[in-house]
Symmetry: C2
Subunit: 249 residues, 2 copies
DNA sequence: CCAAAAGTGTTGATGCTACACCCATGA
DNA sequence: TCATGGGTGTAGCATCAACACTTTTGG
């Protein structure tokens, strides 16, 4: 289905860009691609960008985001959520961006509105595809992301805010961890993403009280200290019970 | 500037749609337009839709939303916030929608992605423009909105969720009220939008504690009971202090 | 035996909920 | 004088924050 797409099947006005977050146990990572190499061009531009693409005219937005990520990770069915639309007139106007657009886009001057998505992945499951496109993909430390192409720093800032809010309000942190994990990984995950220093005992007590965790009989292996018990996430319907009356914060 | 726009200056792939919320003291209202009359056509289709339009190719998204609302209310500079992008392939596919598109759109079959915005207005300030376009605009009770055209029920559902969340977390309720208002209007506003029955005394205590309200020396007039003191909103930087640690809800 | 992280309770303070009566005004 | 909503305080309960030492394992 990808193969029989044609250039004139492309919607030249709308793209998707994906912010893929991962967690390696220590820091938050973001998937970035080197845009020049992406089409095996090389004009010395090593600008990093978020993975993204123009959509096809007969393709749903979220499908387009999935397609981009499938190409990168080889994995379908990622957790995906829309960040929003980014459409300012100058979002593609940097000089280096224009050079790149001229090289690879059929209609380089087209005004493109992009729809941002973010994904949460377990960084170990989805080892980046070794071939082609994916060879030029890197996991960048979130705190070390430099200037990206286009308006991608803006998209990324919006994404991290969404992620933080989600982390406060919904059980999504688990999506960044493997199936079995010690509680302290979850703890450092929260501290890292929220850049806070939560009280460890209070954190553990509360996270257990949510009922989303089940202890297993497995323990860490190969660690140079007392191995921690592994827990797993329990799927259960999360009631976003809006009985938290009003409260500004 | 509107007058020298041309048809070929239109971006036929992207539109904006606006959910305008108002509050009349009793119930939440939404601004809807009768789409057929909108261009002075009349084929018996009285379907209601959210106000919206295709964007111009040289127009920022939010500017497009502002333009649509300016046309309706005559007022510029509304509080506007993006809801998100809506782009499913069948969002314009209902039979009646297609009839309408054939009538008014230069490229009726174009696949259009729309960006939703919502606005909060003081329903009394912005009396709908009496002329032209606006004559066919109505304030519909939120709970009585029927089936709208296109995917506009979907957009509206997304908007109300955003509004509720914002009401919980940020001082935005004031935007729906006039400059001076009695506390009970604010109270019923919260109860109406959150459809809850907050304890009145606890609500008043907490809303005052936020420091966003200042009492004035003015009182209600013309009410058949003890006139309530009027308050006004205090503009001050709202620190979305993320010191509410983690907590699922 | 040493290093490293795991695991584990209590207390005081704060904030939340629940609850009912009198007052001021206009008609 | 009556009807209507305005305005006001407290007490018990639940939740949160702060805080440190012992245990287990691997090396």
């Amino acid at each position: 289905m990808e193969s029989n797409r044609k250039t004139n099947n492309i919607n030249h006005s709308v793209s998707v860009d994906c912010v893929v977050f991962g967690f390696d146990g220590f820091s938050l990572k973001v998937l970035l691609v080197q845009r020049d190499l992406r089409d095996n061009l090389d004009n010395g531009d090593d600008t990093l960008v978020l993975p993204g693409d123009l959509i096809y005219i007969d393709e749903d937005l979220e499908d387009a985001a999935s397609r981009v990520l499938l190409d990168l990770t080889g994995i379908d069915n990622l957790f995906l959520e829309q960040i929003g639309a980014f459409g300012s007139l100058n979002r593609l106007a940097k000089d280096r961006d224009k050079v790149w657009l001229d090289l690879v886009r059929p209609i380089p001057e087209s005004r493109v509105i992009t729809i941002g998505y973010f994904a949460l992945v377990n960084i170990k499951n989805y080892t980046i595809r070794p071939a082609g496109f994916a060879k030029h993909v890197i996991w960048e430390d979130f705190n070390e992301v430099g200037e990206l192409g286009f308006d991608h720093n803006h998209i990324l800032r919006t994404a991290i805010i969404k992620l933080r809010n989600k982390l406060y309000h919904e059980p999504v942190g688990f999506k960044l961890l493997p199936k079995y994990f010690p509680l302290n990984h979850l703890y450092t995950l929260y501290n890292t993403i929220l850049n806070s220093k939560l009280d460890r005992r209070n954190f553990l007590r509360r996270i257990l009280k949510t009922g989303f965790l089940k202890e297993t009989d497995n323990f860490q292996e190969g660690v140079p200290h007392k191995p921690a018990r592994l827990y797993k996430f329990i799927e259960k319907e999360f009631e976003n019970d809006n009985n938290h009356k009003f409260k500004f914060y």
